[in-house]
């Protein structure tokens, strides 16, 4: 039972990284959304971005809730 539970994340990761699916599938959409989330949500400071400024969406939410 436990091995079956542990198998799922490994399987998902293997499927995501050893990519064999086509474009315009729901699996592709999931990857695209994950990438867009990383690009737009990560505060540029975390990556020491040389050109971008501002806190990014995560930083903005953080500022809203953390005094």
């Amino acid at each position: 039972m436990l091995s079956a539970v542990l198998k799922w994340p490994a399987l998902v990761l293997w499927r995501a990284f050893f990519w064999t699916d086509d474009r315009a599938t729901w699996q592709y959409d999931v990857w695209v959304l994950a990438i867009l989330a990383f690009v737009w949500l990560t505060p540029p400071d975390w990556l020491s971005d040389p050109t971008a400024s501002g806190p990014g969406l995560i930083g903005w939410i953080q500022r809203l809730f953390v005094p």
Binding site: A24, Y28, L33, P44, L47, S48, T51
Partner: protein
């Protein structure tokens, strides 16, 4: 329909009109490919001087040429093996010129870290195409891995329009490494697969 499928279908409307114009004018597809590369060099210059939004629009223009050349070739019955070869070679020039633009920009800003990141990402982007081309000389097909040229181009545009080029470089870099690894593994697996026994007479 999927989210990305819907975006693709929406983009096809204006592209169909542009393809129709090029077919009506009988523009040679190899000329379209060359214009695409030159436009990408222009985009690289805009990246180099830090004009990201301008670079984004120029990349849109460049990739219209890039996208329609194959379709125009088909419509005009001008598909040739040399056309495919020319397209692949010119694509590498386009890819590399965009990275050189970024490397110049980061060097000007004195950011050696991002010069190295851009150079590494450029290396793995080229290797993504090379591993597939080389693999397909020894196995029939090697279409595995996520980060191919269309994904790279769209990410470059997103990075330029929204000024998130550093995040985009990280995504392209890491996923290009994974794609090269996928292709090496896939080719190794295909070449070491036990062949089916031939039927005995």
């Amino acid at each position: 329909m999927t989210f990305t499928g819907a975006i693709g279908a929406a983009c096809m409307f204006p592209l169909r009109a542009i393809i129709a114009v090029c077919v009506a004018l009988r523009i040679h597809p190899n000329v379209l490919t060359l214009v695409g590369v030159l436009t990408n060099v222009w985009a690289a210059w805009a990246l180099a001087v830090g004009e990201f939004v301008t670079a984004g629009w120029i990349m849109v223009l460049a990739n219209i040429f890039d996208f329609i050349d194959g379709k125009v070739a088909r419509e005009l019955a001008l598909e040739t093996p040399f056309g495919g070869f020319w397209d692949s070679v010119m694509d590498r020039f386009s890819d590399i010129s965009l990275f050189i633009g970024l490397i110049y920009l980061y060097a000007e800003l004195g950011r050696t870290d991002y010069v190295v990141i851009s150079a590494m990402t450029m290396m793995f982007s080229v290797m993504t195409s090379y591993t597939r081309a080389r693999a397909e000389s020894v196995i029939p097909k090697c279409k595995v891995g996520f980060m191919e040229r269309p994904e790279r181009i769209v990410l470059f545009m997103i990075g330029a329009f929204t000024n998130r080029m550093a995040a985009v470089l990280w995504v392209i870099g890491v996923l290009s490494v994974v794609t090269v690894a996928d292709r090496l593994y896939f080719t190794w697996r295909e070449l070491n697969r036990p062949t089916a026994p031939s039927p005995s007479c």
